[in-house]
Each structure stands twice: as structure tokens, then as C-alpha cells.
């Protein structure tokens, strides 16, 4: 009964403190010295977590089941196509038929939290934690427990992907335009994409792509292709795309 208070406070902060455009920041990182040779490892792809909705005029997220379903179909299709050519074997784990799916789902959420912290405390140089200030250090982990998950036996890495899109509603866009004239900064839309490679033996995040404003509209096949290419940009061991 008290539980909804938090969502109220979130709404209030969204309504009263109109967010200003985020400053430019880094979008990719990898563990020092990490590299992959082609054809040497097996990678498990966890069921991606995909969420699409609209952003109301006041900034609330309005989840949209149809858009999410469309985006899921498009992104899964593009991922299958793209991962065939990354140079290493990638197997998609279907969580509905995998024993220990609970454990893997937890890790997917944990990965989301870790990747969010990387964006907040490392990719944005002005906000780095003291321990993350060294130029080359990229030390993030989901913990060593991952190796105990039997479903990952025989895999060297897990690829985890999360996306969340909130398209600015007509009202939000109108507000943005009027805000521009009024000198009040209003952002419209949110497009978070995260893709990370995690070492099964250590739990360390060895490669991460995370961006709060990714391109490509996953509701359309073309947009989904663009989104996937951005998510997998610089994937370890992949041949650079030839023009």
C-alpha cells in the first residue's frame, strides 16, 4: 500500500525538474589487455531484455506492449544475423527451457545494474569515482558466482543485452519546442542500449558498450539493424565492417 510512494516521488522529480541534455560521454570500455582471437571461444547469448514505450509530456515512462513485441522480434532477428559473423560461436540460451533460468535472469538484472554504474561513474569523466580515475582501468564484475551456473558449462563468455526506448509523445515534443523558445531545457525521448561480454570463470565484464542515447528505431527492421550494429560496435574478435 505504501509501495506506490516511490513512483510518486519519481513522477514529481520528472515533472518539476525538467532534465537538461546530458553531456557528451564515453560509450565503450574493455578490461585492460583483453582481446579475442577468432574461432577460439564459445559465447552464450542471454535472452535480451527489451522495453519500448512513450515519454509523456511530464516525463513519465508509458510502457507500450505492442512496440515492445515488435522491437523484440526485429532485434532478435537482426542479432541472429549479426552474431553469425562475429568470428566466434554464439549460442542463444532460451530462458524458458533452460534449467537455472532464475539464476541467469538474476545475472541479467545484475548486469544491468553494473552497466548503469559504469555509465554513471566511469563513462562520464566529470563524475568518475576516485577508483575509476586511472586512464586505462576498467574493472567491473558481476561476481565469481557465474561459474557455478551449470547452464553455462562449456561457454567462455556470456553476452548480455538490454535496451529501453521511450519515444517522446507529441505533447513532449511540443513542450520541447516551447521550452526552447522559453529558455527551459527539455529533453525528449530516452534510448538506452547496453551490450556486455562477461567472463564466465571470473564474472568480470571484459567488454561493454553502453549509451543512453543510441540510434535506430527498433520498432522497424531497418532501425533494429542500425541499433544492433551500434550495440555490437567494436565487438571483440569481430572483423571491422568493410565499407
Amino acid at each position: 500500500m505504501l509501495g506506490r510512494l516511490i513512483s510518486h516521488l519519481l513522477v514529481l522529480s520528472a515533472a518539476l525538474a525538467l532534465p537538461f541534455a546530458a553531456a557528451a560521454q564515453e560509450k565503450t570500455g574493455s578490461k585492460d589487455g583483453f582481446s579475442l582471437q577468432q574461432g577460439t571461444v564459445r559465447i552464450a547469448l542471454l535472452e535480451p531484455r527489451i522495453l519500448v514505450g512513450e515519454q509523456s509530456t511530464g516525463g513519465m515512462f508509458e510502457p507500450n506492449a505492442d512496440w515492445t513485441e515488435q522491437a523484440r522480434e526485429n532485434l532478435e532477428q537482426e542479432l541472429t544475423a549479426a552474431l553469425g559473423s562475429v568470428g566466434n560461436e554464439v549460442v542463444r540460451l532460451n530462458l524458458n527451457v533452460t534449467p537455472e533460468a532464475d539464476s541467469l535472469r538474476r545475472y541479467n538484472y545484475l548486469f544491468g545494474a553494473v552497466a548503469g554504474s559504469v555509465v554513471e561513474y566511469q563513462f562520464f569523466p566529470g563524475n568518475r569515482l576516485p577508483t575509476k580515475k586511472q586512464e586505462k582501468s576498467f574493472e567491473w564484475t558481476v561476481g565469481p558466482g557465474l561459474r557455478d551456473v551449470a547452464a553455462l558449462d562449456g561457454f567462455d563468455y556470456v553476452l548480455m543485452i538490454r535496451t529501453k526506448d521511450a519515444y517522446g509523445s507529441t505533447g513532449r515534443k511540443a513542450l520541447q519546442i516551447v521550452g526552447l523558445l522559453a529558455g527551459v531545457g527539455v529533453t525528449s525521448g530516452e534510448h538506452v542500449g547496453m551490450a556486455g561480454l562477461v567472463d564466465v570463470k571470473t564474472g568480470d565484464v571484459v567488454w561493454l558498450n553502453a549509451d543512453l542515447q543510441m540510434g535506430g528505431d527498433p520498432r522497424t527492421p531497418e532501425g533494429a539493424a542500425k541499433r544492433v550494429s551500434q550495440l555490437l560496435e567494436g565487438f571483440p574478435g569481430m572483423e571491422p565492417v568493410k565499407p
Binding site: M1, L5, G53, G58, G59, P63, A65, R105, V178
Partner: protein, 392 residues
Amino acid sequence: MRRAAFCAGAGLAALLPLAASAAEELPLLPPYVAAYEPQSVDERGMWMMADEQEKLWALSELRVDDEELNAYVERVLCETVGKDRCSGVRIHILNVPAFNATMSPNGAMTVWSGLLLRVRTEAQLAAVLGHEFAHFEMRHSLKGFEQRRSASDASAWLGVLGGFAQVNTGDAQVSLVGSIFQFNRGQETEADLLGLKYLAQSAYPSRAASEVWQQLMEESDATAFGRKIKKRDTYRAGFFDTHPTSLSRADYLLDQALAYNDAGDPRSKEHYEAIQKHLPKFLADQVKLNDFNGTEYILSGIAGTTGWTGELLHARAELFAARGNPRDLITSTTLYLQAMDAGYRPPETLRGLGLSLVKSGKRSEGARYLEDYLAILPDAPDAAIIKMYVPK
């Protein structure tokens, strides 16, 4: 299909007044649509999120994974709202030592362990479950979402346009914020009153709903007294309150229950039998909240029905031991011994008794109990620290 169900419901509603002359006081329930599917874009989006949240509860470490306890709570819900209604709900019991239950738009209900510990009868549990179910039946999540969106939309426009016109819109913004909380309080009252109708129609007495809020007030008074802070029993809700105050809820629920004038067995003994297996865990969590007087109130409330059982004596001993004044350690020693006399002697009682004795200066006597504790649980997480009290 849906339309047919609705018509049948409407037909029943039209028929009932004829039959109702015998029991005029019994309230009329709204027609119920079984197997409802979300309709609008907003509603389907909310259900999608709720489905995801429900999967997380299913794999949460906090979930009480016990079929019997789940079946008990489900039975109470079904007896309250009826078989057809309760089949649309899945119950997840979570180990959270606070008084709460939540309802998602997709029919997922959470019941917190602190609620099961605090209600004293099946009827009181039924009152809370009925209230949550009423939120579900009236689709409150959706209406609340839409209202919050309208208010925050208006607030955003005010902010931008106010900036444009160089006008201070602070007052208008504040009243929009207030409208969100006021709307929420309105929904809570609505759910209270529909919940009470279920209760009046069921075998449980509807007076139980008011009792829940009376007990909560008494507990919070006890907590406030123990912490030397001001009591908070007001009749009017404050600006940021999401719910009506306990006092006004206790009041209007009692009024309405008196109007229904229904009777029934609140089933107190059965409630404690159903949670018996989990009581030590629930009590241990409550003791850790560092709320001496509030916990004393809860303990004596349970003892009022079951008498001072070993579990309760042990929990009370832990409460005194945690406060730890020299006089408290004498009390806790006595209570641990009484718990053991009552036949309750898990390793935790031996540990508590041993530590209370050691801290009261009776080192060798205490060490004997601690040795027993270590003999039963050699790999206990606190074994290393307990060993420090045991002479080599």
C-alpha cells in the same frame, strides 16, 4: 465471451434486489468479469511491466517458498471474495517485516510477512486481502497512472510556460502535486469500502477491518512512546499522505460495519496455526527492527490468543537481550529459561541464554550453554566469535 459474462453479471444484479428483502443489510457486489484482458495501450503496457515484475518476485530471495502458507493465504482470499474472483489472483508471500500487501494490475498480489505477523485473526487478514483485491477489481493502478500522467503533464506545461511568461507558477504546481496524493487517498477509501463489502458477504465479520487499523495505531503509539517521539494519530491526512489516516479508516470502517451488522467467526486460533511454522523467523525479523515497545505490543497481542508459548518467550528474551542494559540481561536470562521450560530449545535459545549469562558476569555458567550451541552448530556463521567466550 466477455460480454456474455458481463450480461450475466448485470442480470444477477438486476435480480438480486428481489431476493434481498430477507437480508436488507447485505451489500451488493459489483458484477465481476472473469479472465479480464487489458484493453487500452496504457493498460496493456502496465500489464507487461507487471508481468515482468511478477517474474522477479518468483525468483526473489525474499519469497517465502512454502506451499502450505501460500495455500492458507489463498484460501482466506477465496473465502472473502469468492471462488470466481480469487482465481484471477496469484499470491506471492515476501519476507519483509513490515505491515503491507500490494496489488498489481495483472492480478499479482504480494503479502508481506510483517502483515501475517500483525493480524490476529483470519478475518483481519481477509480485510487486508479484500482491500487489495478491490484495487484490482476497480483497476486502480491504471486510473492512478492516468491521473499522475495528467497532473505531471500539466505541471510540465506550467513550468515551461511560466518560464516563458516570467510568472511564478509555484502555487499551481504545488496544487497539482497535491492532486496526485489526494487522488491516491480517494482510491484507498474506495478500496476500503469495497473490501468491506466482500468481508460483510463472507463468513468473516466485517468489524475486523476496523480492528486492523486500531491495532496499527496502538502499535505506532507504542513505538512512538518507546522512541520518545510525538504520537501521530490525526484524523486529517497530510499533504503528502498516500493513504487516509489510520484513525479515519478505523472510524469509517467501523461505522459501515455497524450498518452491515453482520456476524461470524473471526478464526483466531486457525490463523496462528497456519503461520506457526514461520513464526520464529517472522519474530526474529521483527526483533531486529530495534523497535522495543512496538515489538512488545505485537508479542503481547499474539500471546493474548496463544498464551506465552516458547517461541514468544524466546523472541521476548531476544528483545531484552538486544537492548542489553544490565537489568535487561537478567530479564532475558529468565525468559530464555522459561522458553526452554516450555519445551522450546533451538540452538538460538542456547546461544542467547549463554550470552546473557556471560554478559551478566556469569562467565563459566554461560560458557556451558555456548559450548552446547557450538556442539549443535559447529559451522554457524558466528561460531568464531562465540568461541571467544568459551575458555579453552
